[in-house]
């Protein structure tokens, strides 16, 4: 018998006593450690700080055959990458390691157990039905209405069609009737494309953090008090003709708002109007002044462009008119249907963009070399006098670009980015002139801004006035200058407090409002009347969809207070402006934009915008071929179809203002208001002279900083938008943070590393300090090793580091404005960078939902396929055919089921520009929740459609190509998820949909485990916000709101399918091709996603799937996916060797 050592017995007893108070931290640690034992030692070592780190040395192609990779870890084929993909959910995704204290843990557990037991047994309380007192003349309950409106961002409108369910705006899509979106072929329906910002603005409307009441020194005051006090203060300024009255606005293109401002300036001649917005046209205007002596607005026609050279222009993602440009650009890259003259895109850029990823050839260079490179090409295409400027550039192959451009005279475009220095803009103008593009593909108009001014200078003047103590009243209409003014002209507290009375109108009580006497809550654009201009100048009427949710006021209302008629209603202001200033007829937009029959919708009063069915009702007549027979049976399509409309000039009624006005509001734009094109000629000698004077000398060894707006939250104004914060940024796949992008080589130089933590999404990255001219960024600056980033260049994004954005946006990322200066807003040469030695966790989705699991198949496969247009048109070798492994089961007969539909989708990888609009559109349409950074780290983001980024090649510094791949549910005919579900919660419909039945789901997650495409998403917690009343208004009533413990995934927008099917059967016909438009498809600017009936051989999706580029991802698994892809094509210049 063994005798216990008395000392250890005491220890044991002590331990027992400790155990009575369970230490949850210790417990989770214990569980974690034991889990590690089962796994490899890798993950454990992470805790000891000696994890396997992906430094540059590791990034060697381990698998020689691997052509495409999503992350550096994958390229290196690191063991933890294999470990990670072979697990359904990352190893340590469990919440055990969360510092949840015992009490809150028990509370949570208790609450969830009680709810789990009871929620099924509760009798629903009686519901009420509340009909109208007086039925409105249009619309019926249960049917959505559609209204035209527009979102203005940076002074440029995105025309929209908003869906309203019982008076609540729930979804936005592009306005297909607007000249910007109209199809060149008048018989076909225009595009309903939008960008992510307009998609997400619906969440902005219902944001509970919006300012709700007028505040005076943080105390609620009624609007009437404000009007009274302001009028009194104004009377004090009248004797001095308003000296000391200053307005600070963002870029304004609204004609009526400008008239109001001008009216005030007439009444108070000494008052000043300043404009400042962090993203402005200063560079472009300065460039135009250099070339033409005056600022211009440049419009491009990509439909006619065979060769495009982009000089740091992200024209597919961030530029006025980007949606139109992306669509026209993509149309010229489509080689199907007998068209094979694909355009060719050259991109010279200073930081990787989605445009650069789409390019056929792209060069990543330092910002200091951009002008030289531009000059080198300019002298190559015959712009005289600039040859000397180029000097020696390290960029090779530019002569071939110049030759190629010259061969496409009049059919090419040289486009300079908003952020490019003025000299590059001037060179682009000169090149377009020399290439004969002006008037063919490039058009000039007057600037869009009603008062184009150099915003830097304008802000400088305001700062001077403030510093001189001469500002009596400062009125800030929108914007957040305290946060986003440049560091050298910062409107900080010290400066701002010199103004005697400060008034701020904005949607949030932000950093600026905090320092103001009065804060007036601004209306959202879906709550106000206004007008605005699209990229070509076409005026849109902004129409409210809902009464202001809070006590919001629009800028029109605030400015009216300064005028004698201080209580004028915005509706009257806008309407009367256009009554007094009717559009001058005959002004034609550049190119063919207006030809599609200006003035659609004869006799359309507002309600007709809503005549569509719930599902993309306005696109019903998409099938041009079947127009004849359908027009009679579907009255709605007749209204919306430009072909079947009468001549807008006919009928005397069309001439009076009232019917015009109603038509403008209904259509969402005022015809013939595009700015007329102007003839300007570039002063080449002047450009050359200016260039020689401006030559920069920068040491190539210095690190250069590139500053850009954030791809997701822009300049910071969308910081409180959860949809955008959680949207993985294109190329980096980062969420909830900004980071300093560095190239793999620079990372090695600086000793920067990154390591994937246990949870897979928690990437530990080194942080740096960035300083310039005595300023430095105060926040933590994480780094992100980015393939394709030029060496020696660090890119940071604006918009983060907000202190008073709201509950969602506060405290994420670092504030890049702290280092941004007014004289070089987009790049800084020579910044000081040093490692801090500390690490930071970023939530990157790059590693999430990989389809590379070697347990599924040992074959090395190409998820993404790409070829060159040359190889596609003249195939040299036989493509290995599709796998056709037999099945022991009879195939299901989809032809003889009811109406015989079989829904399918085709995604053309050739044209995906990675804009992410589909992801946000899906989120809005399908009530998808936001999960937060912690949950993203655990690979739990809920997006039903993700856009994967694939890089090609062995060298991580210069990937040969970049491809984007949207991945929704594949709706496999032999779906691996279905047989493994123990409760039949995921089953097949007889039209081939892979249905997900939320109410049957018990949350085993077996389906997700068995899904090779990794498209299923599980509600680990109650991610939906069921409490906030405004969010209840926001949801799409046609889609179930999922609760905790339920699997969900893409449904092919089954609500839209069903509603179109019901509509078709009510009209005794089949669903027309193009009638069902999924949410992702509707907003895609490049028409990548096509949905339809694959049983109908004439449907568009069938025709696309018949293309030889069509392939199924992971086809060797024999899942027979309904979603198939078309391989990407590049059109490289044979004269340029692969760099």
């Amino acid at each position: 018998m063994r005798f216990e050592n008395p000392q250890s017995a005491i220890r044991n007893r002590n331990r027992e006593m400790d155990d009575r108070h369970i230490n949850f931290k210790l417990m989770s640690q214990y569980i974690l450690d034991h889990q590690d034992d089962a796994g490899d030692a890798q993950a454990e070592s992470r805790m000891n700080g000696e994890s396997r780190i992906i430094g540059d040395a590791d990034i060697k192609p381990a698998v020689a055959a691997k052509k495409y990779w999503r992350s550096l870890e994958e390229l290196a084929d690191a063991p933890e990458f294999r470990e990670f993909v072979s697990r359904e959910y990352p190893q340590h995704a469990e919440r055990w390691d969360d510092p949840v204290e015992r009490r809150s843990f028990l509370k949570l557990m208790g609450a969830s157990l009680a709810l789990a037991g009871l929620s099924g047994c509760v009798f629903q309380p009686p519901e009420k039905i509340v009909p109208y007192v007086t039925q409105p003349e249009y619309g019926s309950p249960g049917k959505a209405l559609f209204f035209a409106t527009a979102l203005t961002l940076g002074g440029v409108a995105t025309p929209l069609l908003a869906r309203s369910n019982e008076g609540r705006p729930t979804k936005l899509e592009g306005n297909p009737d607007h000249p910007q979106n109209r199809n060149a072929n008048p018989g076909e329906v225009g595009s309903s494309a939008t960008d992510i910002f307009s998609q997400a603005s619906i969440l902005g409307l219902y944001d509970p953090d919006r300012a709700q009441t007028s505040l005076f020194r943080d105390e609620a005051r009624p609007w009437t008090t404000f009007v009274g006090e302001l009028r009194t203060a104004l009377d004090g300024l009248r004797p001095t003709q308003g000296a000391g009255l200053h307005f600070l606005t963002e870029t304004i293109t609204s004609p009526s708002l400008a008239e109001q401002l001008r009216g005030i300036l007439t009444e108070f001649p000494q008052a000043k109007w300043h404009q400042y917005e962090p993203v402005n046209n200063d560079q472009a205007h300065a460039g135009a002044r250099m070339a033409f002596g005056q600022p211009v607005n440049t419009i491009y026609d990509f439909t006619k462009a065979d060769r495009i050279l982009s000089l740091d222009a992200d024209f597919l993602a961030a530029m006025p008119g980007t949606l139109r440009y992306a669509r026209d650009f993509a149309a010229r890259r489509r080689v199907s249907d007998g068209k094979n003259n694909m355009n060719r895109l050259y991109v010279i850029e200073t930081t990787p963009t989605t445009t650069g990823a789409t390019a056929d050839h792209h060069w990543a260079i330092r910002p200091s070399e951009l002008t030289k490179a531009a000059a080198a090409i300019a002298s190559g295409v015959g712009v005289g006098g600039v040859a000397g400027v180029s000097g020696e550039t390290s960029v090779s192959g530019l002569d071939a670009v110049a030759r190629d451009l010259q061969q496409a005279r009049g059919r090419s475009i040289v486009i300079a980015g908003r952020e490019a220095p003025p000299a590059v803009h001037a060179l682009a103008h000169a090149m377009n002139g020399a290439l004969g593009n002006v008037g063919q593909t490039v058009f000039y108009t007057d600037p869009l801004e009603v008062n184009p001014m150099d915003q830097r200078q304008s802000l400088q003047e305001l700062v001077n006035e403030l510093d001189g103590g001469r500002v009596k009243m400062l009125v800030m209409l929108g914007g957040n200058p305290v946060y986003n003014t440049p560091a050298d002209l910062k409107l900080n507290q010290e400066r701002l407090f010199k103004a005697e009375l400060r008034i701020h109108l904005s949607q949030y009580r932000d950093e600026t409002s905090e320092l103001c006497h009065w804060h007036i809550p601004a209306t959202h654009y879906l709550e106000e009347w206004s007008d605005t201009r699209a990229y070509d100048g076409t005026v849109s009427i902004v129409q409210p969809l809902i009464q202001p949710l809070y006590q919001g006021r629009s800028a029109h209302e605030l400015l009216a207070v300064f005028s004698p008629q201080y209580d004028r209603k915005p509706y009257d202001i806008i309407r009367e402006y256009w009554q007094r200033n009717p559009p001058a007829g005959g002004a034609r937009a550049a190119g063919s934009r207006q030809e599609a029959g200006a003035g659609t919708g004869a006799g359309g009063s507002r309600q007709e915008a809503g005549a569509g069915t719930g599902a993309g009702g306005s696109r019903q007549e998409a099938g041009a071929g079947s127009n004849q027979q359908t027009a009679g049976t579907n009255p709605q399509s007749a209204i919306r179809n430009p072909q079947s409309e009468g001549n807008p000039q006919s009928g005397a009624a069309a001439t009076d203002f009232e019917s015009n006005w109603r038509r403008w509001v209904h259509d969402g734009f005022i015809p013939n208001t595009a700015l007329p094109t102007r003839t300007v000629s570039a002063n080449v000698a002047g450009v050359a002279q200016a260039l020689t004077n401006n030559q920069q000398t920068g040491s190539a060894l210095q690190i250069e900083l590139v500053i850009r707006t954030d791809p997701s939250i822009y300049d910071g104004r969308f910081a409180n938008n959860g949809w955008l914060q959680e949207l993985p940024k294109p190329l980096t796949r980062l969420t909830w943070d900004n980071a300093a992008l560095v190239s793999p080589n620079t990372a090695q130089q600086l000793g920067l590393q990154k390591a994937v933590g246990k949870k897979g999404g928690d990437v530990w990255v080194d942080t740096i300090r960035i300083g310039s001219q005595g300023r430095s960024i105060s926040g933590v600056v994480p780094t992100w090793i980015t393939p394709g980033q030029p060496d020696g260049v660090i890119t940071i994004h604006l918009g983060y580091g907000r202190r008073l954005a709201g509950r969602v946006g506060n405290g994420h990322g670092f504030n890049a404005y702290e280092i941004r200066t007014s004289d070089s807003p987009w790049s800084i040469n020579g910044v000081q960078v040093e490692r801090t030695g500390e690490q930071y966790v970023v939530a990157a989705t790059q590693l999430h939902f990989n389809m590379e699991d070697h347990d599924f198949s040992k074959e090395d496969r190409d998820i993404v396929r790409a070829t060159t247009v040359e190889d596609y048109l003249h195939p040299k070798h036989e493509e290995h055919g599709e796998h056709h492994e037999g099945s022991m089961y009879e195939p299901f007969d989809y032809k003889n089921q009811g109406m015989g539909y079989a829904w399918g989708m085709a995604i053309d990888l050739n044209n995906c520009i990675g804009c992410n609009a589909c992801t946000i559109a899906c989120q809005a349409e399908n009530n998808i929740p936001v999960v937060g950074k912690d949950e993203v780290i655990r690979s739990r983001e809920m997006h039903w459609i993700r856009v994967d980024t694939y890089f090609k090649g062995d060298n991580p510094s210069t990937p040969e190509a970049t491809h984007f791949m949207p991945v929704p549910c594949m709706h496999c005919e032999k779906a691996p998820c279905e047989p493994v579900c123990p409760v039949h919660a995921t089953v097949h419909s007889s039209e081939g949909l892979n249905d997900m039945v939320y109410n049957r789901c018990v949350g085993t997650k077996y389906c997700s485990n068995n899904c090779p495409y990794k498209v299923r998403r599980f509600n680990f917690f109650l991610y939906q916000d069921w409490e906030t009343p405004t969010y209840q208004l926001m949801r799409n009533p046609d889609v179930s709101v999922r609760s905790r413990g339920v699997m969900e995934k893409c449904t092919y927008c089954v609500q839209r399918i069903q509603s179109a099917k019901i509509q078709s059967e009510l009209e005794d016909r089949k669903v027309r091709d193009g009638e069902i438009v999924t949410a992702c498809q509707a907003v895609c600017p490049t028409d990548v996603i096509v949905f339809g009936d694959i049983n109908d051989p004439s449907s568009r999706v069938s025709r696309i799937k018949a293309d030889q580029r069509n392939y199924s991802v992971l086809e060797e698994l024999n899942t027979k996916p309904r979603t198939t892809y078309l391989s990407a094509l590049k059109n490289p210049n044979p004269d340029i060797r692969e760099v």
């Binding site: 039905i129 009909p131 249960g142 419909s989 009510l1066």
Partner: protein, 222 residues
């Protein structure tokens, strides 16, 4: 050592075992019956409304068509409830002084809608569409019962999924000619061979889709 258990214990053991099975089955049966009972489904339960509106009087006695008030039943997912204005179009003239109708007049006067209590409340994850059912020849009374005989409206069917599926599996048992959809007195179910034959021909004529499709989950759940 004497036996611990007497012989009769065997019988007791057998009874207990069978009894346990019986009790288990009985419990299941009771649960199933409770689940289908009106206690759970709300079937037959009359709902007190803010106005004592009698369908029996308006439909049965006066002969109003269903669509006079439920205007969107042929075009929209919801049949629609009449606006106060619709009530007042008659009750400005008839029973204009009735105390019963004071809430209606008050609603019209104050521009405050009447808050009716929902009688047929489907779960939120079931997406029922009135228009398509009416179009395909499903009569009002098939689901709502003899509304023309209801002084106070109640739910005539269980509204459980098995009840929906009865028709979605065999639509020929319930469809009727379109012109009889609003006929309250029409037979609620096709039972005889001739009636079923008519039902089958209507299923064909109205392109009612087959059971495979009608019972696909996404037909009703989205």
């Amino acid at each position: 050592m004497p036996q611990i258990f007497h012989h009769s214990t065997n019988a007791l053991a057998k009874v207990t075992i069978y009894g346990a099975v019986f009790i288990a089955v009985a419990l299941l049966w009771v649960t199933a019956e409770l689940n289908r009972s009106s206690w759970n489904t709300g079937q037959w339960v009359e709902r007190q409304q803010p106005v004592q509106f009698s369908h029996k009087h308006h439909v049965g006695d006066d002969g109003l068509d269903c669509r006079y008030c439920h205007t969107t039943v042929e075009t929209s997912a919801t049949a629609g409830l009449p606006a106060t204005e619709t009530c007042m179009s008659c009750h400005k003239q008839i029973w204009a002084e009735s105390t019963y109708l004071e809430p209606v007049r008050a609603s019209f006067r104050d521009n405050k809608p009447i808050e009716w209590i929902r009688v047929h409340d489907l779960p939120d994850y079931a997406y029922f569409d009135h228009s398509i059912h009416v179009k395909k020849g499903v009569g009002c009374s098939t689901c709502h019962g003899r509304v023309d005989d209801m002084p106070i409206a109640y739910q005539a069917a269980t509204l459980q999924m098995e009840w929906c599926l009865e028709c979605h599996r065999e639509p020929e048992r319930f469809v009727r000619k379109r012109e009889k959809v609003f006929d309250m007195a029409w037979r609620p179910e096709n039972k005889t061979n001739e009636e079923l034959a008519e039902g089958r021909s209507l299923v064909k004529e109205y392109h009612i889709q087959d059971a495979n499709l009608l019972t696909s989950c996404s037909t009703c759940h989205r």
